[in-house]
């Protein structure tokens, strides 16, 4: 057999300035200009795209909220019509939950994972580019309706029968339904990419008990997505069929089952709640200990509780349906499961508190955001625990109490960790620090604004204010609370604005950061800031959970070797390792930049537009073109080690 099938990799001592490094840069770099922009598969570029796009959606969703908070500031205002209000709160929820909350975390994971694992890219780089483009186009698709005044108007969980054609005749729900099926493709392929990367791309020696703790969060969320996303895609597909082809899945007058919608939706959407928080908790577990100058307390319990939360998370969806008249036995089971889920969450909380308690905290902005998150998580957890109890839920369901709870969860456990993570990893991404002084302001304004805005919602909910009403009568006892909420939400928005200002200023004038400005322990801090396109000149060999802290922790005699390692420079290459022990078992040929992901995303866009307007010509053309781009994408290439040598045939 010729050597194209097998080779012993070179081992060499190299650094980021060697001749090898220059050759690797040439091999891995993305071409400048539009062609490179559309074809790049560099996980760092894709990661930053995800982060920027998700932030833009966060701002859009935030502005929508501010607009309807003006409407709710006082009783009986007519600033917005009920129809506009419905679209605003629906698009706000859809944007934050689907177009911001997971994509932002995928952005960080995309950027960080290969660096954390000592790899040069994700396992499936072209799929990575594809998942970004589909996310972008699906987001635009959903917003196209809103832009022409026909946005989704039935809330993010979109209950039937109101979402059915007889009650909601415009195209509003069709934009949402097809958009969600479209977006599901991005989520699914992105999740698969994370899973394969976790199991196959870790540097030699990074056995399963040595992976950076944050990757457990994204891995768990990704496995959940693989099994949960089909449920919501199907729910929306069946809804679209009901609306467009007179099927009878949900339509009760012809024997359909409206509750089937709720089951399919929540079987997805409750796991989704953990999908959008577990990776964020992971980032805290990674970053918080660095500012406590010690390893995380309880790595194994935290990793296990992450997985346990997700497994339980698949068995609690009915707690969203306590008020639908299901049998008591079913309510009891789901109530118990929802209460038990507090246990793994508490494990993580105590691990973070113990880390702060036994560490020597450095009060950076990132630390403040991470510590603030722990506080908000406890609050959001307690209100969740309360509504897990059936009688309490019967009192509180569909009131502002639930709105308060879900915002404590989503802002507290997603936005605060994300902003903390940005302060922590911005120096790696851009080579400059975010300003710490402005950072303090940023944190305190956001923290105070958030609590001022959302805490009173607990009370308005207890006082019986229903969610999703576009206005309310005076002297219900809700006036002052709503005014405070509106003021708080504007203050919170100012806090977010301070973050944007900080980013804008620091991109140009931020203090320069070296490779490891926080003296952190994981592999991404070995690379220059920002990292070169190839990430690592040689693949490091990992000896512990905290590769850069081994000399001070003195856990064993073994040392991680980063200066000498596998060279792998015959084109784009990376070592593949086995899932448990991370022993090398293959030299993977990594694909170069390619237009195929972008083209396929365009074909899918054509497909969904075709379905939307019932243009079967466009639908079939898009299918044919899409099939051709898939075949072109997968066409076996000699350079990727996918074909037999002609001599051997």
């Amino acid at each position: 057999m010729s050597s194209i099938y097998e080779r012993a990799p070179n081992l060499a001592e190299e650094n980021f300035n060697s001749a090898l490094a220059h050759r690797l840069e040439h091999i891995w770099q993305t071409e400048p200009g539009l062609a490179g922009w559309l074809s790049t598969v560099d996980h760092k570029k894709i990661g930053i795209r995800y982060i920027v796009t998700a932030f833009i959606f966060l701002i859009i969703g935030g502005v929508e909220a501010l607009i309807f908070r003006v409407q709710l500031a006082q009783p009986a205002l007519s600033f917005l019509s009920p129809e506009t209000y419905d679209q605003l709160f629906s698009m706000h929820g859809i944007t934050m939950i689907f177009l911001y909350a997971l994509p932002i975390l995928s952005g960080f994971s995309n950027y960080l994972w290969p660096l954390l694992f000592g790899a040069r890219d994700m396992a499936l780089p072209r799929l990575n580019a594809f998942s970004y483009w589909v996310y972008l186009f699906a987001g635009i698709f959903m917003y196209a309706g809103f832009a022409v005044g026909k946005g989704a108007n039935d809330g993010w969980f979109n209950y039937v029968p109101y979402a059915l054609r007889p009650f909601n005749g415009g195209p509003n729900i069709d934009f949402y339904a097809l958009g969600m099926v479209f977006l599901g493709i991005s989520t699914t392929v992105g999740a698969i990419n994370f899973i394969v990367t976790f199991f196959r791309m870790r540097a030699p020696g990074m056995s399963i008990d040595r992976v950076p703790v944050m990757t457990w969060g994204t891995l768990t969320a990704s496995v959940a997505n693989v099994f949960a996303v089909p449920s919501v895609s199907l729910a929306f597909f069946l809804l679209w069929m009901d609306r467009n082809f007179a099927t009878h899945f949900y339509d009760v007058t012809s024997g359909g089952q409206p509750l089937l919608w709720q089951h399919l939706f929540w079987m997805f959407a409750h796991p989704w709640v953990y999908v959008v928080v577990l990776p964020a908790m992971g980032m805290v577990s990674e970053g918080l200990p660095v500012f406590c100058r010690r390893p995380l307390v309880g790595y194994a319990p935290v990793a296990l509780s992450t997985v346990a939360t997700m497994i339980l998370g698949f068995g609690v969806w009915v707690h969203h349906m306590f008020a639908t008249g299901l049998p008591v036995i079913s309510l009891s089971f789901f109530s118990a499961a929802s209460i038990i889920i507090a246990v793994p969450s508490a494990v993580a909380v105590f691990a973070w508190i113990a880390t702060i308690w036994t560490g020597r905290p450095v009060f950076t902005t990132a630390f403040l955001f991470f510590a603030g998150f722990v506080f908000l998580f406890v609050l959001g957890g307690v209100s969740g625990f309360m509504t897990a109890s059936v009688p309490v839920d019967w009192q509180l369901t569909d009131t502002y109490f639930v709105v308060a709870h879900l915002h404590y969860v989503l802002i507290g456990i997603n936005v605060f960790p994300v902003v903390g993570a940005l302060y922590y990893w911005f120096p790696k991404m851009k080579g400059r620090f975010l300003d710490e002084r402005l950072g303090r302001w940023n944190f305190w304004v956001m923290f105070i604004g958030f609590n001022l805005g959302f805490f009173p919602m607990h009370i308005s909910g207890l006082l019986g204010m229903p969610r999703r009403i576009y206005t309310y009568a005076p002297n219900m006892g809700w006036d002052t609370l709503n005014l405070i909420t509106t003021l708080g939400s504007f203050l919170f928005a100012i806090g977010v604005l301070l973050l944007l200002v900080n980013v804008a200023i620091s991109l140009r004038r931020g203090r320069a950061a070296g490779p490891n400005p926080w003296d952190a322990a994981t592999l991404e801090w070995l690379t220059p800031s920002p990292p070169p396109s190839y990430n690592f000149a040689v693949i490091p060999t990992v000896a512990s959970r905290h590769p850069l802290w081994e000399d001070r922790l003195k856990e064993s005699e073994d040392r991680t070797v980063s200066s000498k390692g596998l060279v792998l420079d015959h084109g784009r290459e990376n070592v593949g390792t086995d899932p448990l022990d991370a022993q090398p078992d293959i030299i993977l040929k990594m694909p170069g930049d390619s237009f195929a992901p972008f083209l396929l995303s365009l074909c899918l866009t054509g497909l969904f537009v075709g379905l939307f307007v019932h243009s079967w010509t466009l639908t079939i053309l898009s299918l044919v073109a899409g099939t051709a781009s898939v075949i072109g994408w997968l066409w076996p290439e000699r350079a990727l080690g996918e074909t037999a040598e002609p001599a051997d045939v």
Partner: protein, 200 residues
């Protein structure tokens, strides 16, 4: 980890179950399996509701006349594809192409028979919930078979072009994994629609 381990010779490129594409396909199968799980959940959700309109399925259990032979045809196609996989491991490229080709043809026969069964039905997708479920779920499955047929034909083309041998066959195995999944999931669909109504 010692340098001796790092210096061991390693296979290069797409090799057996170590190829990233193989791993990706495992999880594609997981998510597709989940999709069919939710489709069949929807069927059973209707089937167990006491308030369903009329008998479920309306008119009694569907006939096995076409469905049973069609099931056998689909299973045979999996046998053909397995045979193709065996052949490439022995570097037998002629029989590789033949196995893939037979698999694809049997897949097409399955689709034609399914279409005949569709045409025989006395109801449509919009007649009642059972009709919606029947045409949607079997339609989903037929779409998967169609994708599989295209995959098998593409693999047969690439095989004919001499891209594969007894070392480079990852593409064949990845495509075959999908095809076996599509066949296996039919058994779940078949059991649900044709067998469970006879169990009551």
């Amino acid at each position: 980890m010692s340098e001796a381990i790092l210096k061991r010779p390693l296979p290069v490129g797409a090799i057996d179950t170590r190829a990233s594409g193989w791993w990706a396909m495992i999880f594609v199968v997981c998510t597709e399996g989940a999709l069919f799980g939710y489709l069949l959940f929807s069927y059973y959700y209707f089937a167990v509701q006491a308030h369903s309109i009329g008998y479920f399925p309306p008119g009694g259990p569907p006939s096995l006349t076409l469905a049973l032979p069609d099931t056998v045809i689909l299973l045979l196609s999996s046998v053909a594809v397995s045979w193709a996989q065996l052949n490439i491991k022995h570097n037998d490229k002629r029989h590789l192409v033949m196995g893939l080709g037979i698999g694809a043809v049997l897949g097409i026969v399955f689709l034609v028979v399914q279409y005949l069964e569709w045409a025989q039905k006395q109801f449509t997708i919009s007649s009642h919930p059972y009709g919606s479920l029947y045409f949607t779920i079997t339609g989903f499955h037929m779409a998967h078979v169609a994708v599989g047929v295209i995959a098998l034909l593409t693999l047969a083309l690439w095989s004919g072009m001499g891209y594969f041998n007894c070392v480079r066959y990852a593409h064949i195995h990845i495509g075959a994994l999908y095809w076996h999944f599509v066949d296996a999931v039919w058994l779940a669909v078949f059991f649900t629609f044709y067998i469970t109504p006879r169990l009551t």
